[in-house]
């Protein structure tokens, strides 16, 4: 009886070892894609949907697209030996195509908060930017850090920043067409502060976690792209500093 019992436990142990071994063998190729995206793209063609969203994605007529996300994807493609096929379109058209696996990636200045997370897998944020209240000098910045009530804050007309400013603060919204010539305090993305010659206050209006969209469930491809992006936050910030213009 004890002998039989021992035989049983060894049998169990063998089974566990087998499971672990299978896991280790698969380790080099795990997780995998249900539809094999990464295998297809590697040394092949990566289909990228691009929708205009300056400075992340610019899609000019007749010339190849540019922008922070476009540049990052070009570098990613190089690491896996893929050629990029750019597919311009509206965000919703591209997402529909991505959902139906006609595209491999969509870039459109998306953020993690995007509603598209229901239909596409969003990558970890490769860069986080903020919309802040900025002032022309330190003294004004200090005052605005204390209290925004009644302050006239310039903001790009008809922009989401204007909406946020109106909804979330007591400041007086001053819509302008061009922030560069606005003068005075303004609500701006943090990467434009230097270009505009403004200093930031403690008041943050919004935070954007920038991400790209990949087909749902293509986990090997998702993980490959994320691994690439997570290592390159500084690179992304440098490209943004160069590409981001008021």
């Amino acid at each position: 009886m004890p002998r039989a019992a021992r035989g049983h436990t060894t049998g169990m142990r063998h089974r566990w070892l087998a499971v672990v071994a299978v896991g280790l063998l698969a380790g080099c190729d795990y997780p995998r894609d249900p539809a094999g995206t990464l295998d297809r793209v590697r040394g092949g063609v990566m289909r990228v949907g691009v929708a205009e969203s300056d400075p992340w994605v610019r899609v000019p007529e007749g010339t190849p697209p540019s922008g922070v996300e476009v540049e990052l994807l070009e570098r990613f493609a190089a690491t896996i030996g893929a050629r990029v096929e750019w597919v311009p379109g509206t965000e919703s058209d591209l997402m529909e195509a991505l959902q139906g696996r006609q595209l491999d990636v969509v870039v459109a200045g998306l953020t993690r908060q995007s509603e598209w997370r229901r239909v596409a897998a969003l990558t970890r944020p490769y860069l986080t930017t903020q919309v802040v209240i900025a002032a022309p000098d330190e003294r004004t910045a200090e005052r605005l850090s204390e209290d925004l009530a009644g302050a006239r804050i310039a903001v790009e007309a008809n922009s989401p920043e204007a909406a946020k400013l109106e909804q979330d603060t007591d400041a007086i919204v001053r819509p302008v067409d061009d922030l560069a010539g606005a003068g005075g305090p303004a609500a701006v993305p943090d990467y434009l502060l230097d270009d505009l010659g403004l200093v930031r206050t403690d008041a943050e209006l919004d935070e954007h976690e920038h991400a790209m969209a990949v087909s749902m469930g293509e986990n090997a491809f998702l993980v490959a792209l994320e691994r690439f992006l997570l290592d390159r936050e500084a690179e992304a910030a440098a490209i943004l500093a160069r590409e981001g213009r008021p």
Partner: protein, 333 residues
């Protein structure tokens, strides 16, 4: 006769009961840790979500047990002349409903996801500058949600039998559901890793069905208790053996011509009412006291025993009747 307040438990079971209370506190602390671990690794896995929800609902039985533990010992008073034993039954119903709703939810949602063909995405995460596939963290969290639950469930099952405590039994079952769900979610996550997107939802459906079945059994049992059903075993596997013993004891009383017996559960103790028609009116007081003592002596669970003498029994259902000629109750244990 002592007014039937009854100590809840005989002295030898008090340490067992204390152990159960301590175990339920440990369960709550453990569940909270598992809930936090799963929450931070949830991702988009359906089975993970099920495992997490399951852990959240698993808090219901131990909390119900501990809340009931505070009130069940109270002596009867003007507002609750039968005492507070049945606080345990309320807790039992809550614990059972938690199981049932949990299972149902999991089945419905996972079926929808499966039909919809959702491919769950699992990407990378950063933990203090360390990059790791979220799937590995999920697996670690699920193991934490499974292994201690197996152990807790086993201990509780034994304690539930000792204490005739149905909440504890439902809780043990809930722990079983916990580790099974975690195991299925584990299969689901590993499956996703191998590119088998459907495995996640499929695993969640199988587990959901199992949980819902348990939930249904216990909910119906709890409702029967509240409707004063005949006492059943703590694992609901049949009529409680004490029903037969009480019937036999009453049948052996030679001064009783015929009698009707009503038994019901008051939480984890049992209440007995005997309406007895005596052959003659001699020594009635002594005889009634003796009968009460004999029944009470059968088991500590028989705490609220009332024997009443009546001239005749009209319209009593044959099932509850006991005739002096022998044990004639038709449906015995």
């Amino acid at each position: 006769m002592r007014f039937p307040a009854g100590s809840e438990l005989p002295p030898e079971l008090v340490p067992v009961y204390r152990r159960a209370v301590r175990l339920e506190w440990i369960s709550i602390a453990y569940l909270l840790s598992a809930i936090v671990a799963l929450f931070f690794t949830l991702g988009s896995s359906q089975a993970m979500k099920g495992a997490w929800l399951e852990d959240v609902l698993s808090l219901a039985p131990p909390i119900a047990f501990l809340v009931a533990a505070r009130v069940r010992h109270k002596r009867p008073d003007a507002s609750f002349p039968y005492g507070y034993h049945r606080a345990v039954e309320v807790a039992y119903l809550i614990a059972s409903l938690a199981l049932l709703s949990m299972g149902g939810f999991l089945v419905v949602e996972s079926t929808l996801k499966l039909l919809h063909g959702d491919h769950p995405p699992i990407g990378m995460v950063e933990l203090f500058d360390w990059q790791v596939w979220l799937g590995w963290l999920m697996i670690a969290a699920l193991l934490w949600s499974a292994i201690p639950a197996v152990i807790l469930g086993r201990i509780k099952k034994q304690l539930a039998a000792d204490l005739h405590d149905k909440v504890l039994h439902a809780d043990a079952k809930m722990n079983r559901a916990d580790w099974m769900t975690a195991g299925a979610a584990l299969a689901g996550v590993v499956g996703i890793g191998f590119g088998l997107w459907w495995m996640d939802a499929a695993a969640a459906i199988v587990i959901g069905l199992d949980i819902a079945r348990d939930g249904l059994t216990y909910t119906s049992a709890a409702v029967k208790d509240i409707l004063d059903g005949r006492p059943r075993r703590d694992d609901e596997s049949g009529v409680h053996p004490l029903v037969g013993e009480v019937h036999r004891t009453v049948a052996e009383l030679d001064w009783v011509q015929e009698s009707a017996i009503r038994m019901r559960e008051l939480g984890h103790v049992l209440s007995v009412e005997v309406l007895a028609v005596p052959r003659d009116e001699a020594d009635l007081l002594d005889r009634v006291e003796d009968a009460t003592a004999r029944i009470s002596a059968l088991d500590w669970k028989l705490q609220d025993v009332v024997v009443a003498v009546v001239r005749e029994l009209e319209d009593a259902p044959a099932d509850v009747m006991v005739r002096a000629s022998g044990p004639t109750h038709s449906r015995s244990a």
